[in-house]
Homo-oligomer: 295 residues x 2
């Protein structure tokens, strides 16, 4: 029974948060992603926590990490704590500014699909202030100060999810380019434009047609759909497009569909609401409005 050490300090909150994220996601790099830091930062947090607890929490296998059985048992407790904290922060945000809404979505959706809908929304509910955050990956709505997200997913819908539309893809190009294309084989001579987010959509589409291999080989891949689309508009090739994103170019005739085939992917565009939103009465109404304009 040693006597009177200095007042013991608890572990650092940030280290606990890093632990929880790493444990929940099963990977340091995923945790790093969620917390917007580098993987090295996570490594260090976990290490300080392990030093504090005087016990290892993860086993490091060169292919990733795995929780210690001991640590495993603790994860739900920490997850509950940080979920509750996230809820509290959401409550604070809503309390302060009930009609400021943050919506996270893909850059391409933010640019080509949302603006028209948000315009409509502004007419229906002029007091709502929606700000749009463009992200490549869906954020964790419990933890981050974001109210809604709009992403493509194939996962089954949860209780806070609303399916907006199904993803339908088909090739598009300028009328000039289309004039050169009569049979699928003609694609061999064209540049196939693709977006890195959906880089195998060409394969999906082609394999749904009378298939003949080898066409989908090369092509130019762009990290932003907007860039690929721009190239298509300048006659730079044939783009595998998503219906939701190119409707207006088809309507205007600027771009056309050289082939009739449309592929319905199992992927859907889903509006996901933060847990805080579905609960609050005031916000349930906002949600209804948004579902309305989402059509």
């Amino acid at each position: 029974m040693p006597v009177s050490p200095p007042r013991p300090k608890g572990p650092h909150l940030n280290a606990l948060r890093a632990f929880e994220a790493a444990a929940r996601l099963g990977s340091f790099s995923a945790a790093a992603e969620e917390l917007s830091v580098t993987p090295g930062a996570i490594t260090q947090h976990i290490k300080t926590l392990e030093a504090w607890a005087e016990t290892p929490l993860f086993t490091r296998n060169a292919r990733g990490v795995a929780l210690t059985p001991m640590a495993e048992a603790l994860v739900p407790e920490f997850t509950r704590a940080f979920d509750q904290l996230g809820l509290a922060v959401h409550a604070l945000r809503k309390q302060v500014a009930p009609n400021k809404i943050k919506l996270a979505t893909l850059p391409s959706l933010a640019q080509y699909w949302l603006p028209a809908r948000l315009g409509k929304l502004r007419q229906i509910a002029p007091d709502l202030q929606v700000s749009v955050i463009a992200l490549e990956e869906p954020p964790n709505l419990v933890r981050e100060p974001i109210d809604m997200s709009l992403f493509f997913t194939s996962d089954p819908l949860g209780p806070n999810d609303i399916e907006v539309l199904r993803d339908r893809i088909f090739p598009i190009c300028t009328p000039d380019v289309a004039a050169r294309l009569t049979r699928l084989e003609d694609l061999r001579n064209e540049t196939l434009l693709r977006d890195s987010t959906w880089s195998d959509d060409w394969e999906h589409w082609l394999s749904a047609q009378t298939d003949l291999g080898g066409i989908a080989s090369g092509g130019t891949e762009h990290s932003l759909f907007a860039v690929a689309l721009e190239e298509a508009r300048h006659g730079g090739g044939v783009l595998m497009a998503h219906e939701a994103l190119v409707q207006r170019f088809l309507d205007s005739g600027e771009l056309v569909r050289p082939f009739a085939g449309i592929v319905d992917l199992p992927r859907k565009l889903v509006l996901h609401l933060s847990p805080k939103m579905v609960r609050s009465d005031q916000l349930a109404q906002i949600r209804d409005v948004l579902m309305e304009i989402a059509k």
Copy 2:
């Protein structure tokens, strides 16, 4: 609808913790105390949080602070979150070292009352490793990595509290000094020793005797009971003692009670257990052992 600001960051965890503590305790300095920092640190945390939320959370009255009505509503959410986090940390500690116990208590109890009890404990349960932390104020057992606390209090007992004994006080001194004391009035010529933690015990005791005012005026106040006791042992005056702390000196005859009067204060010595302890089965047994030896 502004588009694509950088990914919004949540507030700093430490700022949230400071807010919760300040809100719960109703005072920045109390929060500073609980978190072992200076009041200035709390001020700054609250300010960054207010800047993040873009709204004031406290109204500053020169005599202290008060929560904004808006902030008021949020406190329970944050308290729940940090309570849950504290629980999780306790779970971690117990998981790692189930039989390491941290006990916080007053320096005087740690020095004069505990050692004999802990010795007994070591015989009953040799595998328990109890470490004692001396603190002036009872810690928050939910938040700090401490399992039990032993302090005097007049508050009613909660479900995790165990009354160990009632506080009984009386004057003591060396036999030499006692020889000079036959009537209460004789105290006027002696140095009245007192501990700053319980600085008005002399008044309590005197007013319980055939009261005559003015005796309790001066005296020497020591911040540590141990120092006052040491002075009494060297014949430096008459000390207002607590039964629990001086039993052994009375037994050995080194110190004596110059007057028969004993005052039973409404204050009791209470063993408080962290919420995690009462729940766990394994630790319920430890608790029983401790109650046993507490007698």
